[in-house]
Point group: C2
Chain length 150, copies 2
């Protein structure tokens, strides 16, 4: 349960943008409708993706968002990392600047945490938004198939 709502929303928005193709920019309101993400939250999330260079935006009349690179070049890892930061399950097992711990030397627990970290990162890094778009179906392609929830 470590993927925050924001990360969930951001990845959904990215998938929707990928499926939109990018011939024309997509409005925040449309993004919200197509992904079932609150507009007010997208207002916070999208600028983060933009600042990171993952998407680009245009303002004014026919403005909106588009991917800033071909979807084959954008990994799920890049987007998740942007919102989650460190992907290790615990602070003593991060790749960069692991938090010191008195039990650090010869800790067999830490080895397991590191393996989980590596498996997680590997899985995310191996997946591009082109892959995700190719695997999408149902409500992702046809908004009328979105299910009402609660």
């Amino acid at each position: 349960m470590w993927i925050s709502r924001r990360t969930d929303y951001a990845t959904r928005a990215m998938l929707a943008l990928t499926l939109a193709g990018g011939a024309t920019p997509m409005r925040l309101q449309d993004l919200a409708d197509r992904t079932a993400v609150p507009l007010s939250v997208l207002e916070q999330i999208m600028p983060v993706l933009r600042t990171a260079g993952v998407v680009r935006s245009e303002r004014g009349r026919s403005g909106g968002y588009r991917l800033n690179h071909p979807p084959e070049k954008i990994t799920l890892e890049a987007v998740v990392r942007l919102f989650e930061g460190q992907l290790a399950p615990i602070a003593c097992a991060t790749r960069k600047e692991p938090e010191p711990c008195p039990m650090m030397g010869g800790c067999s627990l830490r080895s397991v945490w590191e393996e989980i970290r590596d498996a997680t990162i590997e899985r995310l890094d191996r997946t591009t938004f082109a892959d995700l778009a190719a695997g999408a179906a149902g409500p992702w392609l046809d908004p009328s198939k979105m299910e009402l929830v609660d």
Copy 2:
């Protein structure tokens, strides 16, 4: 960063108990010293392990804690799950009663979350405290090797 401090502490305490052998029970105070976990937090954690049947305790004069089963029979998964609950990275990807989502049908993101869930559980389930004890070294075997932290 989803492994909480409590889970960290609980797994450390379990490893210390495993290394202690169980011929004689181990006091909370000794557990705290050997694992660098605050005594007051262990007071909350150990009863949870006891109620779950993972450890057993004795009160009074020469009381303390011991494993309640051979360490080959206790998996890291069991202990982590006790404190973390669901191990899926996101609520829509749990094995039991996944949280409904409007984009559920044909969601390629969800497939990735499920794979990460499975890889994580598999790694934890494959590791027993006997394994962890066999791989432990440094401060785990010799308290004088514990490093001072901040």
